[in-house]
Symmetry: C2
Subunit: 393 residues, 2 copies
């Protein structure tokens, strides 16, 4: 067992109907909230529902209802100005990763009130995040089972100058409250269920075989993987009816977030390389990891055979009679089977990546995701990254 | 899955050598610490070690080195006065449950600075714990793998007037930092390893079959039980050498604490009735549950056969061919086997309980542990409690 440490300052509310807790608790965080959501939240009636609950808690509500997928630096800066202009006390992120990350970014940057979000990302003048001020409180309400943003100390922003997707991470970026209410997830279309659900799988799987993995994250990662294997197929196929599957995925997602967030394990090269695919193509985040998974496992399974053997088992492959090494060696095939099972057996070409993009994508990996890359059990040079990308085409 | 919520504000440091983190972090909590420990900490050199680390962090140290097992109300009140008189900023609890509970109690009561600890326990004039003030920070350093106090929002105090052991629980009672360094546990004698380790088993087992059990606590409780089954026997037999076993038990203990603490599951009738044995006999806390476990399981296994079947399995009993009901019905026998395996097959008589004590003990259960009792899956009337105690004689 390695030495490790973890903190979880977030208060979690998990289960059907838990959003109603807003009525009781929202008032503790201030008198005026900035509610950040994308346009579908209004169409589905969720925006109205949350707005009303906040009002019942005696909270005045300002709304941003046009959060875009993969939120851009320029939009965040505009939203920070709006938060300050309206004199808000806290933010509420309602939606998927984009809305929750927006809520986290706005609460953080409004408290600093000093420059653009671009100053705080890798390469920016304030990227060391020294002496940052305590952010305004953030309440996350996740409406997808993916990203795990409600349980992490990260937000990701699209850099419109460098065309990459750097992440900003700081202990103070943990949400104050996270509400994981599967009721919001019942109407998610199958393709969103799939791309978010597969992201959960990668959070858990990568964290399990990361350098920073520890006894706490191993426990939660394996539990998340068991839940994904049990429920993701059902949630994709029959998500409008299967409440148990939605609930299982909601919890798996939160566990995945805890593992990469306050459990301090984090993701590895799969996410590092996937982010750059997202920066170039705007493909749904969860899908960007799919082409990379098998080539990654082929390069790494020898580095910790016991763990890769456990992955093979949790993916439902292998026999009791096989040795640890045999099981570990089977892991690439098991991963291939899992991707196929969930309709995620994609190449980078399928996501719109061209050969010409590989150079800039590789630059971006080292520019913005070097720390994540180095969390892999195996070292990846620039040549290794290019080769992995090529295998994934 | 039930709705549930959890928070973990504590920052955990787990693993060999982690106590050295004090050098880096202690200064964040103030300029002067009150270090609470029992006399063995000095004998073992641990008191000196921690004092020096605090000094290296630039912290001045006041010491209480005579914490007694099952700390008394009168002692706590005296220590609170000492904390205030010396102008301390935070407490450090070094030792087992008694030292850590003392640190938590003193930090809490000094901040209130309003009356005796007896006012805050069940039946006391301030027992509703309304409008309590933020306690001074607490750093817990556990030197036993038992009690889990470093991960809970509880302290337990011996009421010298009513001869019971009420607990005081409040969200603000979570330690700021918990250090779980198995190095401190290497020299624990076998009998302490046993009584603390069996307490971990009960925390996890009871929380798993508690009314308030949830997906988060189920995961952590089963993991804790797996670790106890794997490592407790080794830690009892060869604890001076077997570092892996000590580490496994240290982590199991912390998981057990998380489960009953911020995971919000909590213990059940076994702990409720065990506390009253402790109040009457001063027997080691962990052992007080042993006589009660089998009679408790006999009365409850039908209430959730799936969970009791899982307990039977994790205890290493049953066959794959058995039905869930058959496995659940086997749980009392499995529990009996586990207690025997760890040298804990004790009757209440073995702990010094006489027939005459059963009446006052039963009174005390309802006086101080009613909430815990009601967390059981089965209802326990006064007659039920007496009958269970009699079965345990």
């Amino acid at each position: 067992m390695n030495q490790f440490n973890f903190t979880m300052p977030t208060k979690f509310y998990v289960g059907f109907g838990q959003v109603n807790v807003l009525r009781e608790i929202a008032g503790e965080y201030g008198k005026k909230a900035l509610l950040c959501a994308d346009s579908t939240m209004g169409e589905l009636g969720f925006l109205e529902k949350v707005k009303n609950l906040l009002k019942e808690a005696g909270v005045e509500v300002e709304v941003i209802d046009d959060v875009q997928p993969n939120p851009k630096d320029v939009d965040i800066d505009r939203q920070v100005a709006y938060f300050l202009e309206k004199g808000c006390d806290f933010t509420v992120g309602l939606g998927g990763g984009s809305s929750m990350d927006t809520a986290k970014a706005v609460a953080f940057l409004a408290a600093q009130n000093d420059g653009s979000v671009r100053d705080y990302v890798a390469g920016g003048v304030k990227s060391a995040l020294e002496e940052v001020k305590q952010p305004y409180p953030v309440i996350c309400i996740t409406t997808t089972a993916g990203t795990g943003s409600e349980a992490t100390k990260w937000f990701v922003v699209t850099d419109t100058v460098n065309h990459d997707k750097p992440g900003v991470g700081h202990d103070l970026l943990m949400p104050s409250v996270s509400i994981v209410d599967p009721e919001f997830m019942m109407s998610l279309p199958a393709n969103v269920t799939r791309s978010c659900g597969i992201d959960v799988l990668f959070h858990a799987m990568e964290a399990y075989v990361a350098k920073c993995a520890n006894a706490f994250t191993d426990m939660a990662a394996l539990e998340a993987l068991r839940l994904v294997m049990k429920y993701l197929g059902r949630a994709i196929e029959n998500g409008k009816e299967d409440r148990e599957a939605r609930e299982g995925m909601a919890w798996a997602n939160t566990l995945g977030g805890i593992v990469i967030g306050e459990g301090n394990s984090g993701t590895v090269a799969i996410h590092a390389l996937g982010h750059s695919i997202g920066g170039q193509t705007n493909a749904p985040h969860g899908l960007t990891m799919c082409p990379l998974a098998v080539p990654y496992i082929e390069r790494t399974w020898r580095a910790d055979m016991e763990k890769y053997a456990n992955l093979t088992r949790v993916f439902g492959y292998g026999e009791d009679t096989m040795s640890t090494e045999e099981l570990a060696a089977l892991c690439p095939e098991a991963m291939r089977g899992v991707l196929k099972k969930f309709g995620c057996d994609l190449t980078m070409k399928d996501l719109g990546v061209t050969e010409e993009m590989i150079g800039p994508m590789t630059d971006s990996v080292f520019h913005t995701m070097g720390g994540v890359l180095n969390n892999s059990l195996v070292e990846f040079t620039r040549e290794d990254v290019i080769a992995l990308y090529k295998d994934a085409m």
